[in-house]
Amino acid sequence: MATIPRTTPSIRSLNLLLRTAPRFAQTQYRRHTTASASGAKSSVNPEEVSHFNALASTWWDPHGSSRLLHLMNPLRHDFIRTCHASQPTPVAKEGLRYLDIGCGGGIFAESAARLGSVKSVTAVDPSPEVLAVAKAHARQDPGLAAKLTYLNVSVEGLPAPKGLQDQYDVLSLFEVIEHITHPAQFLDACTPFVKPGGWIIMSTIARTWTSWVTTKLVAEDIAGIVPRGTHDWEKYINEDELRGHFLKERGWNSPRVMGVVYVPGLGWKEISGSEKLGNYFFGIRKDE
């Protein structure tokens, strides 16, 4: 695992984040033996896992707490298309391989597997209950079986790619990074899985007073759209922190960002500049 250069401002911010998250200042070892035989240090936070285990049954309820994620999902594909369209060389029209980390109930993983351009999707999540829901749901679409593989494992538990054939065109981290205790190490652990010229695509929430109001106060406490404890505001990461992390001699280029806002009655809307306020997508391309 790459060492963290403690001098960069962005990583200082990440470390600051971790210091201000005493609730999760516990050992970060994997608790699922199914994940890996290596016993490697995991990015997975056990409290987060148990929280999402409890949420599992409502994952595919269109009127449940995951409704906002269902509504956001098309934008994820739109953002990936924008990233692909920005490449100097056009992206392949078929045969793409996706790795979805923290797939949850499989909202994105299923949708990616349905795309004609996608050859296979590997989707991983450390929560066994959530993954069971994902697998059960995928059986309702007989077209998915041949393209979609779920693994109950963390990124550290995946076998290291031996070559290009084991790497992925798109590695996605949707609403994941804000649940990770050591995000910098986690992102470095993801790097080997991305093909040269491939993308890490993620979405998360900026750590601002507005996001505290919308995701903690309104969504969890007042409106109760999502269960209490879903978000840990101190772990939110800002776009410039991510940008700084990847661009610090790690072999990444062409960062892209798209801020999105949920407008009741209209759904998720792209709003330029809103990445500074709340939810945003971030994409970055691995050097070829």
Binding site: P62, H70, N73, P74, H77, D78, E110, S111, A112, A113, R114, L115, G116, A136, R139, Q140, D141, P142, G143, L144, A145, A146, K147
Partner: protein, 495 residues
């Protein structure tokens, strides 16, 4: 996992599985089949029940769009489609079932490549509408100069035989290919699939046909008319009422091509207390009649000789309501009676349709008028379009256009889902279709219904107020322009 097991069934294979794989598996399964024909479940992305204008347009739209063309689609139609494919009449004969197509509907048909298959010489664009009150005589004239409603060439709407449209849609589908057409096969039942060891199809509708086939549908589309079996399967109620009226249709021949036809033909509609009577232009000297009236009077009209029927049509646009009541009660001899009364009734010759001189043999028919609106257009893996979703009074000529609007919206919704990897059948992913169409259709149906009720009275007060309103609107070009744009499908959107 070893796929070729004793229990393998094609139901485990999805719409996105390549066809040759499905075929191979099915072939391998035949080895285990007993002497009776095995009922093999076939999996489709879209199964459309009903091969009318709505169903055929939907399939053509899905096949014509490169985003949705990989979908595996099937059509189930209980009748043979051959009479439609072979539809051909000389230029002196027209089918009695005609519909008005708005420029918006025509634009959609052009987009999906169907309009060029329509026999254009049998279509009549009209440039004006004249509508008047049969009791007070108050009238309103719409012409394309007002309001900018019209397309290039100033057409407000196109009159077209329904068969000309369905024939064109079938031609377009033949050209596109890729639709599994089950014609002459009735739907004998709709149920749900099973949860087997490899796939859970318990949320998938499975349609059984009289031909012994079983089709599992990712999305089952009900384009199956007013008594939609698909709607019944989905448990969606349809509410409304019967008007106690029937629409009498006929293909008529006039003495000329119509007043001012050099500048564009005119559609005429007169509101009588029994219902509106409309004369809608077809090419040449022909026009199509839609006369909404009571079942009793319709039966009397249909029993008349051709000459007397023609006279009654002329009378309906010219004579007073009192005269009409008298004429309806005559068992025969209307021809003579009408020609005498016309001489004693003042009307402006060019404000009513040209005199009708003949009715095409066998073209007089009637159908009951009603209003129906389904409680919802969507369910889990179900969508309703056209008459399965709504039936409207024909007085505004919007029935077919509403169906085309549904189809355009549903096809766009499906394309959006495919583009974003969403399951096209899941109710949440169909919500966009319903939200685009339901309120809009409901508003239009409400307006049409109120118009019918407003004019179905001879109450002096109501007649006075409605005539005042009509005359006021007639003098206000901006208001007329608004109505014109609404009628042509290019109106402002409220919802």
């Amino acid at each position: 996992m070893k796929p070729i097991a004793r229990s393998i069934r094609t139901r485990q294979l999805g719409g996105y599985v390549c066809h040759s794989c499905t075929r191979n598996l099915r072939r391998s399964r035949r080895g285990y089949a007993t002497t009776s024909q095995p009922s093999t479940l076939e999996i489709y992305d879209v199964v459309c029940v009903g091969g009318g204008p709505a169903g055929l347009s939907l399939l053509a739209a899905l096949r014509a769009n490169p985003i949705t063309s990989p979908l595996k689609v099937a059509l189930i139609e209980s009748q043979s489609l051959d009479p439609t494919r072979k539809f051909s009449l000389p230029s002196t004969q027209y089918s009695n079932r005609c519909s008005s197509l708005t420029p918006k509907s025509v634009g959609f048909l052009q987009d999906i490549g169907a309009w060029e298959h329509v026999k254009r010489e049998r279509v009549c664009g009209y440039k004006g509408m004249r509508v008047w009150d049969g009791v007070s005589g108050a009238s309103i004239d719409f012409s394309p100069e007002i309001g900018g409603a019209a397309t290039e060439g100033g057409v407000v709407a196109y009159m077209n035989e329904n068969l000309n449209l369905t024939r064109a849609l079938l031609g377009r589908l033949d050209e596109l290919g890729g639709v599994e057409v089950l014609e002459g096969e009735k739907v004998t039942g709709i149920g749900f699939g099973n949860d087997t060891s490899t796939a859970d199809l318990s949320s998938w509708p499975v349609v059984k046909t009289s031909g012994g086939r079983e089709l599992a549908a990712r999305l089952l589309v009900g384009a199956d008319g007013g008594n939609s079996p698909v709607r019944t399967f989905a448990g969606i109620d349809s509410r409304g009422w019967d008007y106690g009226r029937v629409g009498v249709v006929a293909t008529l021949q006039m003495e000329g091509e119509g007043w001012g036809c050099e500048e564009g033909k005119i559609a005429y509609q007169r509101f009588l207390p029994t219902g509106p009577v409309a004369c809608l232009p077809l090419p040449g000297k022909f026009c199509t009649l839609v006369w909404s009236t009571t079942p009793d009077l319709a039966a009397k009209l249909k029993a008349l000789s051709a000459e007397d029927f023609v006279s009654m049509v002329n009378a309906a646009f010219r004579l007073s309501v009192t005269d009409l009541k008298y004429l309806h009660d005559l068992p025969s001899g209307q021809e003579e009676e009408v020609s005498w009364r016309e001489n004693h009734t003042p009307f402006e010759r060019e404000h009513v349709p040209m005199k009708v001189v003949g009715v095409q043999e066998g073209s007089i028919a009637s159908f009951p008028l009603k209003l129906r609106h389904a409680d919802s257009y969507i369910g889990q893996r179900v969508a309703l379009v056209g008459d399965a979703a709504h039936t409207v009074h024909p007085l505004a000529g919007q029935g077919l256009n509403q169906g085309q609007g549904d189809v355009e919206s549903l096809a766009n919704t499906i394309a959006y889902s495919v583009e974003h990897g969403m399951d096209i059948g899941v109710r949440m992913n169909l919500e966009r279709y319903e939200s685009e169409r339901y309120a809009q259709n409901n508003m239009l149906m409400g307006v049409v219904d109120k118009l019918h009720k407003l004019y179905a009275t001879e109450n002096q007060l109501v007649v006075g107020v409605r005539s005042l309103g009509l005359r006021a609107v007639n003098s206000l070009d901006s208001v007329k322009g608004f109505f014109m744009r609404q009628a042509s499908g290019r109106g402002e959107k409220f919802l």
